[in-house]
Structure formats: C-alpha cells, structure tokens
C-alpha cells in the first residue's frame, strides 16, 4: 500500500479554479470589456416601482397548500371517475373478465353464508335484486357454454388422437384399399363434414356466448373431388381431412384386410388375427374378396380355389406368387 498518488493537476482544472477564484486571463479580459450598464431609464423605472410598492397597501396572498387547490381535487375526481367507468364497462362487456371479477366474491359470500347458516344458505344465497338475477343467469349460461366447449374440445381431441394412432398403423396399407374401393372415398366426407359441423356449431355457440374458440380447427368447406388413387394417398398423408378419412377407412371396414396389407408390406407378424401353430387362420379371412387361409414362411396362403389371375388383379407382381404343390393354395410373398 502506497500513499495517495500525487497526480499533476489538469490544466483545464487549474484554469477553472482560477476563474472561480476571480483570477485568470479570461476573466480579466472579460471584466475589462464587459462594461455595459443598465440604462438610466430602466433604473429610474425600477426604483420608482420599488417606492410605489412600499406606498401601496400590503396584500399578502398566501399560497394554498397543494392538496387543497380546488381545481386539483376536481381534476383528480374527474380522472378517477372516467377511469373507473371505463374499467367497469369493459368488465361488464367481457363475460370472462366479469366472472373473474365478480364470481370469486360471490363464491366467497356464498361460502361464508353457508358456513354461518348452513340450513339457510341455499335460499339466502340467491340473488335478490333483478340485476343480481340477471347476473346469475348470465353466469350460469357462461358456465354452461364453458362446459359444452370443454366437452366438444375433449371429443375432438379424442377423435384426433384415435385418428393419428390409426393412421400411423394403417396409412401405408390404405393406398391399395382406396385404390380398390372407390366407395371408401365416400367415407371421406362424413368425418370431415362432422368435423366442420362440430367446429361451426361450437364457434356459433361460442359467439352467442361471447366466447371465441382459440384452439378449435376452423370450419372448412367440403373436401375437393376425389383425386386419382395415388394422389389420394398423398392427400391422405398430408391433409387433416384426409387423415380423418384414412382413419375412418382403416377402422371401420375389414380390419383383417388392412392388417394383411400391412403385413404384406412390412412382413411384420403383429397381427391380431388368431392363427394356429402352423400359421393357419382358425377361420379363413377375406382379402379383397379372396379367401386367405393363413400366413406362413413369409407368404400369404390363399385358399386352394383362388386363381392366379384373381390374385394378380389385386397385386400386380407375378414374381411374388408361388405355388408349392398342385393341391395347395397359391402363396404371395410379403415385402415383394
């Protein structure tokens, strides 16, 4: 630790100190040149004014305390009134805000009353005035609308979740189904229409209750005319309506078909169809109108009577077909 450093004083500070002390070249030159004097006429006028002021009676106007100035108080009152009115009207126009502001107080009052007089609480807690009755009715309507909205939302969420799960499993298999069964395309409409109706209904009801659905899907027009099969399969993967349609197609008709289709493409064995140890179905299944009796050694086994042409009509690759023995059914290899 060393002592305080002896730093040389800056020139401008020395100059400033000289100036403040009444020294310095600048002050000297200024003083020598600043010799203007107040005009005599001004001097006389001011001195006369000072004498007249002494001759006049003394009127002391004490300054009022700031808080007691009348304009101050009235201005504050007006501002408070305007602001409160604005807030009150805004709260009254917004049911959500109104419920947030008034409902807790009402609930607390009801609870207090119930706690104090349990047997009288239900009757005495009822609103007495017409305004209070209207408020209670509005609150009940708002609650009902809120419940409906919650129900609709949960329904929609459930459907969407089921559809997503189903499409994850059956989307690849949906292409041949859609291609083969044009009537499935007709099923595209109902879920979409239902979805649109649900959305429009919920939004209409919500608007009637001054609510706005934030997370509901907007109502969309009816789906476009069905594109060709391949284009449809792409639409199925991308558009929400298509996803719903594929979900409907995969869930509603023969699940065995879709499962077999899926198995043929992926060769996975996660089939819910009951089979015996050798892979034969306990009851023959239908695959696009053709009788299938089992799955074995990576191949789909058709019933003995199913012709080669019928199979090729559903599955275009002849090299995937094989016939182990004459009396046995044809086999269609998976993943082919």
């Amino acid at each position: 630790m060393s002592g305080p450093e002896q730093t040389p004083q800056k020139p401008d500070d020395r100059e400033l100190e000289d100036f403040l002390a009444g020294r310095g070249k600048v002050r000297e030159v200024y003083r020598a040149n600043a010799q203007e004097q107040s005009p005599t006429a001004v001097d006389e006028a001011i001195l006369r004014m000072s004498e007249q002021a002494l001759a006049a009676p003394v009127v002391v106007v004490a300054k009022k305390p700031r808080a007691l100035r009348p304009w101050n108080t009235s201005l504050a009152a007006a501002a408070v009134l305007v602001l409160s009115l604005g807030v009150f009207l805004q709260v009254r126009q917004d049911p959500v805000a109104e419920r947030a502001v008034f409902a807790p107080a009402a609930n607390e009052a009801t609870q207090d009353l119930a706690a104090a007089q349990p047997e009288l609480a239900p009757t005495q807690a009822q609103p007495q005035s017409p305004a209070a009755t209207q408020m209670a009715q509005a609150r009940a309507k708002a609650d009902q609308a809120q419940r409906q909205r919650s129900e609709m939302k949960s329904e929609m969420k459930k459907e969407m979740a089921a559809a997503s799960a189903a499409i994850a499993m059956a989307a690849p298999a949906a292409e041949p189904i859609i291609a083969a069964a044009p009537e499935v395309q007709a099923d595209v409409a109902p879920p979409s229409r239902r979805d649109a109706e649900l959305a429009s209904k919920s939004s209409a009801e919500s608007e009637a209750q001054n609510f706005v659905l934030q997370d509901a899907a907007p109502a969309k027009p009816a789906p476009a005319p069905a594109p060709p099969p391949m284009a449809m399969s792409k639409a199925v993967r991308s558009a929400p309506e298509g996803r719903m349609a594929a979900a409907g197609a995969s869930i509603a008709p023969a699940t065995a078909e879709t499962q077999i289709d899926h198995w043929l493409q992926s060769c996975s064995s996660d089939l819910a169809l009951s089979r015996d140890d050798s892979g034969m179905f306990k009851t023959p299944q239908q695959w696009h109108g053709l009788s299938v009796i089992g799955l074995s050694d990576g191949a789909l086994i058709f019933a003995p009577g199913v012709s080669r042409e019928a199979i090729l009509a559903q599955h275009g690759k002849a090299e995937c077909l094989s016939a182990p023995q004459k009396d046995q059914g044809l086999r269609l290899r998976c993943g082919c």
Binding site: F19, Q37, I46, S50, E51
Partner: protein, 185 residues
Amino acid sequence: MSVPDDPHTDESLMLRYAAGEASAFATLYARHKDGVWRYLLRGCRNEALAAELSQEVWASVIKVRNIYEPRARFATWLYRLAHNRLVDHWRAERPQEELDVAAEVAAPEHHTPAARATQAEQGSRLMQALDALSIEQREAFLLQAEGGLSLEEIASTQGVGRETVKSRLRYALAKLRGELADVWP
C-alpha cells in the same frame, strides 16, 4: 441561511426593504443592477428585451418582498429569477431562435464599428467567442462572472449537477482561450 447580523449584506438589505425602508432597495439595486443587466443582455442579445426582462426580474423582487426568506444568498435567488425569465423568453422564441442568433450577432453595441474602433481587438474577439458558446455554457460563465455564484449555486440555478456545471465551465473557458490562442501564449 439565518438572518444576517450585518445590516449591509444583501439579505439584510432585502429584509429592511420588506420592512419598509426604500433606501435599502436602492442600495441593493445599485449593487446588482449592472451584473443582472449584462447577464440578461448577453442571454437575450437584445437591449430592448433585456430592459424589459430586467424590469420583470426586479418587479418580482419587489412583489415577493413580504414573503422573502433568506434561505440562500440573495444573489443566488436574484440570478435564479433572471435565469427563469431568460428561460421563459427562450421557450417563447424557440422557433426563431436560430434566426435571431444570426441577426443579433452583429447587433450588440460592442460589435458596432464605432465600438470596435474603441475596444481592444482582444476584448472584441472574446465577446464574439462568448456569443458563440452554447446557451448553457454561456449561462454558467455569466452566472459566475457577473453574479459571483459558486459551482453549487450555478448548478442549483440551472437545475443540473455540480459536475455538469464544472464541465460546462471547462468547455467554455477552453473555447474562449482557444479563440484567443494566437494572442495569448
């Protein structure tokens, strides 16, 4: 600030004037009239306007004599009144301020050809340089040079901090010195 014992201080004179002694005001006025006049003249750069502002400042002193309390130096209070008048004037004249500055630079008495002939070249250039300072710097300079106000009193009058006043004065002095660098070593 307590009531001064010396009957000849500014504060005592003001109190005596408030008590009804007209001569006390005359003494007080004689002490400060020229300083206030020059402060206002250099602030507004117009003799007629300076006369008007000067009367307003002293009228304020006369008007409030009965509620005057010597809380601070009389000079500080007086120059604050003058400063407030100047600020009112600047606010009223702001749209034309630049034009006025240009027009009035040549107008003051000490810039006329006759005055130049009699004034030293050095002093004339210093006054020109003073006119060229910013309002704040010129005010700080004049409050000290004419009113003898301290840094704290100038800061209080201008409504800024002490360091700001120091900075303004440093710049003002540096500019004035720089203007006369060829004359002064």
